[in-house]
């Protein structure tokens, strides 16, 4: 399918594919097995200018948008969904600055993010605030010297690896979600420490840790936007990043389908390659149909966002939900058609299935996102434009 990508977008996709095949493929199983953060690969990604993709040219970026970010994430995920999220989470952590940062904040941080010298993370989730994100307890108390941050964030991707953290904390405990604000927290802030590294089912080479803040004093100028805007910023950031999770899911599914086709072409049973069986062919065809539909949806939403759309919660959620459900179905079926080999760790499929699962859970579980889609649906009475 020709999506009429520009020459630059095609070049970006080719470059990422080459990087993924040459640098990630040879080590992906080992990274997964050892649960090892892919620092050398992240450097290769930075050297290839891929962190510049989502940063405006003014701040030393390439001036791309959601679509470009999705193209990179798709190609990385086709080989390894875990390395892909270690890359993509820097975009998630940078979005608050990109969307709501003031000029000084952007000048200070964005060029460092673009070059890959500084990695980012996004700290929202807490032990009592997952889908119920309004229930966060971390506080930001305004003092004469700045904001004093106290609290603990949980399940933070890139925790400990990133240098710049966008965190959400309550500046006014009495207002609940409306009392939340967004801040930039640098890694070396006194009182900022990291909890244990989580042991995960999939995306195991990515690092997930607790962020612990004990009387962390940060300068007043680290407030992003205004006090009380924390939740609005969070919702906008996630609307922007969700197509990227869709692209991660779609890339994983693409990789799984390719691996399943390779295997079923080689595997001889009853005197014929498995792929000659109609039942296998139909499974593979269904994979191709849903992956292509995911891709079309993600690219379309990416373009819609990049066109300057104001509100796209429903669209971004739709792309993320469809692509992640597809990825889970495709990877599960890919393991199934490859039988015992699919289940073995010598083959990449079981890892892809484990990696796919998280895409239905994080950055808004698919259940929460269906709620959001339903809200929008009721508002527009189901009519399309």
């Amino acid at each position: 399918m020709d999506y009429f990508l520009t020459e630059q977008q095609k070049m970006l996709k080719q470059l990422t594919r080459r990087l993924a095949e040459e640098r990630i493929l040879p080590v992906r199983a080992e990274l997964d097995e050892k649960e090892e953060y892919p620092r050398a690969i992240i450097k290769d990604i930075a050297d290839a200018d891929l962190f510049r993709v989502f940063i405006p040219e003014k701040y030393d970026g390439l001036g791309g948008g959601t679509l470009e970010l999705c193209l990179v994430v798709e190609e990385l995920s086709r080989i390894c969904g875990s390395v892909a999220v270690s890359y993509a989470v820097t975009a998630l952590g940078a979005y608050a600055l990109l969307l709501y940062g003031n000029e000084e904040q952007k000048q200070k941080y964005l060029p460092l993010i673009a070059s890959g010298k500084k990695l980012c993370a996004f700290g929202l989730t807490e032990s009592a605030a997952g889908s119920d994100a309004g229930n966060i307890k971390t506080t930001a108390e305004k003092t004469t010297d700045g904001y004093l941050i106290n609290g603990t964030k949980q399940f933070i991707t890139n925790g400990g690896e990133a240098d710049i953290y966008t965190i959400i904390a309550l500046t006014d405990k009495t207002k609940g979600a409306r009392g939340a604000s967004a801040f930039i927290m640098e890694k070396d802030t006194p009182g900022f420490t990291f909890g244990k590294k989580e042991k995960k089912m999939g995306i195991r080479s990515s690092t997930t840790r607790e962020l612990v803040f004990r009387n962390c004093l940060i300068p007043t100028e680290n407030l992003i936007g205004k006090e009380g805007m924390g939740f609005i910023i969070t919702l906008k950031v996630l609307d922007h990043s969700r197509p990227g999770i869709g692209a991660q899911a779609m890339g994983i599914a693409q990789g799984a389908m390719e691996a399943a086709i390779d295997y079923t072409q080689q595997r001889i049973q009853f005197g014929h390659p498995l792929i000659s069986l109609a039942v296998v062919q139909h499974i593979l065809a269904n994979m191709a149909i849903k992956i292509e539909a995911s891709r079309a949806l993600i690219y379309s939403v990416g373009r819609y966002i990049d066109s300057g759309a104001k509100s796209f919660t429903e669209e971004a959620a739709t792309a993320k939900v469809f692509a992640s459900d597809t990825a889970m179905e495709v990877t599960t079926n890919a393991v199934q058609v490859c039988g015992g080999a699919g289940y073995m760790r010598d083959y990449p499929l079981e890892k892809m299935m484990r990696d796919a699962k998280i895409t239905q859970i994080y950055e808004g579980s698919n259940e929460v996102l269906r709620n959001a889609i339903a809200v929008a649906l009721r508002k527009r009475k189901g009519r399309n434009a």
């Binding site: 630059q8 070049m11 970006l12 470059l15 080459r18 990087l19 040459e22 640098r23 290769d44 050297d47 290839a48 200018d49 891929l50 510049r52 993709v53 390439l62």
Partner: protein, 261 residues
């Protein structure tokens, strides 16, 4: 540092077929790649430029299509590239190649260091690097596995030896050839690829570099290829027969007979 890196486009396979009539390699249908050893040379040039500032110029003698390889060199860090392409250059042996490259390197003013791969994977001679140094009348170090330092118009390197390595220092300008142990070549960057797309890659012909026609290409070659052939594969292996135990016994007997055990 003004660094010149010599690159050659070679067939992307070691299983080339030979034209029995023309005694040349059959290149049709085989994708061309940069000679792998030259990729290490380019990477080292770019790293030295990053360490000491300066400029990297990639040069290649070859057919016009070698320009694609030179553009790739720009995408991975070369600042400029020049292609030496002239029908008169065709059929050059290592001497004529070194002569031509030498003329081109001279044209690049104030060069400090020329880096080549240790050998090509098609010709496999490893002669062009040292011959080039001779043509230029400057020092030469082969099989460099590490550039330790460049200071005060001197270069100190580690050179692979059969057991371990030697540390050698010489004056600049110089020619070095590098081994694969020296680095891991980088991938292109997006900015590099964008630059490579629009970069001007000038073509230098014999007259542009002041090369005399009788010294270049087939005419300038001191050697002549009379014939290229595959050595006959002679099967001298003896297959042992019988079950595993019989085979092992006869193997042991044969090894004893040959006084190997």
């Amino acid at each position: 540092m003004n660094i010149v890196v010599c690159l050659k486009q070679v067939p992307g396979t070691t299983e080339v077929k030979i034209d029995p009539v023309k005694n040349t390699l059959i290149r049709q249908g085989i994708k061309s790649i940069v000679n792998p050893f030259d990729a290490y040379a380019l990477e080292e040039g770019v790293r030295l430029k990053e360490r000491y500032t300066g400029k990297v110029t990639a040069i290649s003698m070859g057919p016009p299509q070698a320009v694609d390889m030179l553009r790739d060199a720009i995408s991975t860090g070369a600042d400029e590239a020049v292609i030496l392409s002239d029908i008169a250059f065709a059929g050059a042996d290592t001497w004529a190649t070194a002569y031509t490259l030498g003329k081109a390197v001279r044209k690049i003013n104030n060069f400090d260091l020329v880096i080549c791969g240790r050998q090509t994977i098609d010709g496999d001679t490893g002669q062009v690097g040292p011959e080039l140094a001779e043509m230029l009348g400057i020092p030469f170090i082969a099989y460099v596995s590490k550039v330790e330092e460049i200071t005060d118009r001197k270069i100190r390197v580690q050179r692979m030896a059969e057991d371990g390595y030697e540390t050698i220092e010489t004056t600049l300008p110089a020619v070095i050839t590098v081994v694969k142990e020296i680095n891991i070549p980088r991938l292109p960057s997006f900015r590099g690829m964008t630059k490579a797309k629009t970069a001007q890659v000038p073509t230098w012909k014999a007259e542009d570099i002041g090369a005399e026609k009788e010294n270049v290409g087939l005419a300038g070659s001191a050697t002549q290829v009379v014939k290229i052939f595959f050595p006959k594969i002679v099967q001298t292996a003896e297959m042992l027969k019988g079950d595993a135990e019989t085979q092992i016994n006869s193997l042991v007997a044969k090894l004893k007979e040959a006084k190997l055990i």
